[in-house]
Structure formats: structure tokens, C-alpha cells
Symmetry: C2
Subunit: 209 residues, 2 copies
């Protein structure tokens, strides 16, 4: 099994944090995205969408998409449970993971990709080039701010994001909040619940992954 | 258990098709999104993000996000299996479901929401209003066309989207292709594998759901 990583990109960091929670280390190859190492023919053969992370299994299967990779690792290393124990817990974990992805990660990604010079012709991940849309950078920032408020409201009712203990949904949300700092969106004084949760997750050893 | 639906919206149709594959019917409430029935205080109490579908459990828990709802229903009604049997199958199903969501559904949604008059101030789902960005409509259409090519390439290698039989990833992809017809993106003669798969899925009784 081989893990294709690319610090400091946020998506593979989700998998690194997941592995750290499991206390597992696997063979890792680091790609330099600023040098386009995800766009080579060799890497395209592993992932035609040219994204990281990728988990290459011993039979040659290449898993992409952070959630799918974490789900596979959960099967190999079931303790501690990070995807929920019963049907309702599992559904709530998938639900909150998707809420973070569609609202938080999508907005922050739009803001970064449509603003930073590095992505001038690369406003969407993948093999095709799309030029930046400046209005989308601004909309992405606003969406991210809305998402922070929404997450604060959720954390007013719940110690953790999805259920009553730490799960992969907390990992996704934590990396999203960290990623949002790249577009200068930060937790405000009006978001005490989000601040409390962020401090608690930051103190976990896996946050350094 | 109560299902909040909104024909003809694509996301709840994913759940209807999933239920049809299982041969299960559940109590359903239809919302009229053109009348803003998803924005009422009553519905916001069930889903603060004002999206459909929602599955309200008998204990009052409201599940949102189509994938999470389908996963919960899979636990209740395990046959036929639609989420994969072992760790690798399950990971491939989640992976392809996310690929369809992040590339196909996202692009088609951008194209529709940033073009159609109905969504003039509603270019993003949810309680907050965001005005349309015309350039994003065009980019969304191009992304959808790229996604069709990508899906055709996948279906050149595989009878179904994720593994060697029909799964929830096929449902998501099928509804995505159907949704893309709203923005006038259709399967082309250069995409024979996508056409073969689309015809096969269209012939399933669940496609009428």
C-alpha cells in the first residue's frame, strides 16, 4: 500500500490526520504540486483526475477521494472507530462530512483557486485548465464565512461535529477551518462554540499531521 | 420515518431511485421549491440548510444529504447491496460517488443556478442569497462536458460506474446525466460507452422513480 501525499494541500492532510488518529504509518510518496507533479503521465495513470490524495493498493487499485480512502483505512484499522458504530451514527457522520465538503470546502476552494496567482489558469482541480473568475473568489469567501456561522450553530448543540465523539467529520471540518485561513477567513468572537471545538481538536496529537 | 421530497429536483430523485431499487416505499411529503417551501421556519427546523432530501427518523432526527440518507436506508434494507460488500468495493463506491458529485453534479449545478431566471438571486442552495455569476454558468457547462468524457472513459473499462455491478454510484451518475439535460448537455456520438450504460440504466424500473 502506498500513499500519494502533497503537503501542504488540505485534502491529503485529511488522510494524514486520519492515519495519525489510528496510530498507523504507511509508505508515502510526496508530490510537489507547484511543479505540476500531479499532471505527469505516470501520475495520470494512477488518477486521471490529477488530484491527491491517492492510495495505491497492493493489487494496483488506486483509490482517490479522501472520504473513500479513509473508509478503506477504517476497514483495515477499525480502532478507534471514526465512521460511527450503528446505522444512525454512520449516516450522521457521512451527512456532516458532506455538509462540510459542499459548503465549507467548496467555498474556500472557490475563494483560493479564483484569487491566488498560482492558480491563474487553474481555477478547478484536474487535467483541464479553467481561467479564474474574480467574482467567484468573493462569493467563495462569503460562503466560507456563512459556513463558519453554520458550524458554530451546530457546535452550540453538540461537542463534536457529527455525533457525541470525535469522527472523520471532525477531521474534515478541522482541515476546512485550517484551509480557510489561507483565504484569511478566521473564527470570530461571535463564534465561541466553533472556537472551543477548534481549540480542542488543535490539542489532539493528530492535528500536527 | 418520513421522506421530504421535491420533484423534479435531482438530489431527492437519487433517494427515490435508491428506494425503488430496494422495492421499498416510505411516507413522503412533497415540497414545492418554486414556492419557497424549503425556506419556511418549519422546514428550517428540520434542515437549517434548506435543502432536500430530508429523512426524518421516528426519534425526530433529521438526516440530510442524499448519500447519508441512502447509507441509512442500506442498513435498514440491505438487499440488494448498493454500497459494496467488502472494504475495497465500499471504497470504490464512495470514491466514484464523490467523483460524480465534485465533477459532474457540481458543474451542472453551477451551470443551471447561474443561468436560469428562477435562480437569479439564488445561485447557491441554502438560506442565504447569492447573485448569479454568468461566467460561472459557462464554466459549469464546460466542466459538465468534461465530466461526460471522463465518465465515458471509465465506462470503456467497466460495465458499471464503481464496481462490476449496479451500485449507488450508478444512481448518482445516472441522475447527474439526467440533470445535465436541463443545461442542454447530452451524450455525444463520441461517448459510446456512456450511451450504452445510460441506455442500460434507463431500462431499469427504478429509472422511472
Amino acid at each position: 500500500m502506498k500513499f500519494y501525499d502533497a503537503p501542504p494541500a488540505p485534502s491529503p492532510r485529511r488522510v494524514r490526520m486520519f492515519l495519525a488518529e489510528k496510530g498507523v504509518a504507511i509508505a508515502t510518496v510526496n508530490l510537489d504540486l507547484t511543479q505540476g507533479e500531479q499532471l505527469t503521465a505516470e501520475f495520470k495513470a494512477k488518477n486521471p483526475r490529477c488530484t491527491v490524495p491517492v492510495l495505491e493498493l497492493d493489487d494496483g487499485t488506486c483509490l482517490t477521494e479522501s472520504l473513500a480512502i479513509c473508509h478503506y483505512l477504517e476497514s483495515l484499522y477499525p480502532q478507534p472507530n471514526l465512521f460511527g458504530e450503528d446505522a444512525k451514527e454512520q449516516a450522521l457522520v457521512l451527512m456532516w462530512n458532506d455538509i462540510v465538503m459542499f459548503n465549507g470546502f467548496a467555498g474556500a476552494g472557490e475563494a483560493l483557486r479564483n484569487f491566488a496567482k498560482l492558480f491563474r489558469e487553474r481555477s478547478v482541480t484536474g487535467p483541464a485548465n479553467f481561467p479564474q473568475i474574480p467574482e467567484l473568489a468573493e462569493r467563495g469567501r462569503l460562503r466560507t464565512e456563512h459556513f463558519f456561522s453554520e458550524l458554530d450553530a451546530r457546535l452550540a448543540d453538540s461537542e463534536f461535529v457529527a455525533i457525541d465523539r470525535f469522527t472523520v467529520a471532525d477531521i474534515t471540518a478541522y482541515i476546512c477551518v485550517e484551509f480557510a485561513s489561507w483565504i484569511k477567513v478566521s473564527i470570530t468572537d461571535a463564534q465561541p462554540h466553533l472556537r472551543r471545538w477548534h481549540a480542542a481538536v488543535s490539542s489532539r496529537p493528530s492535528a500536527a499531521a
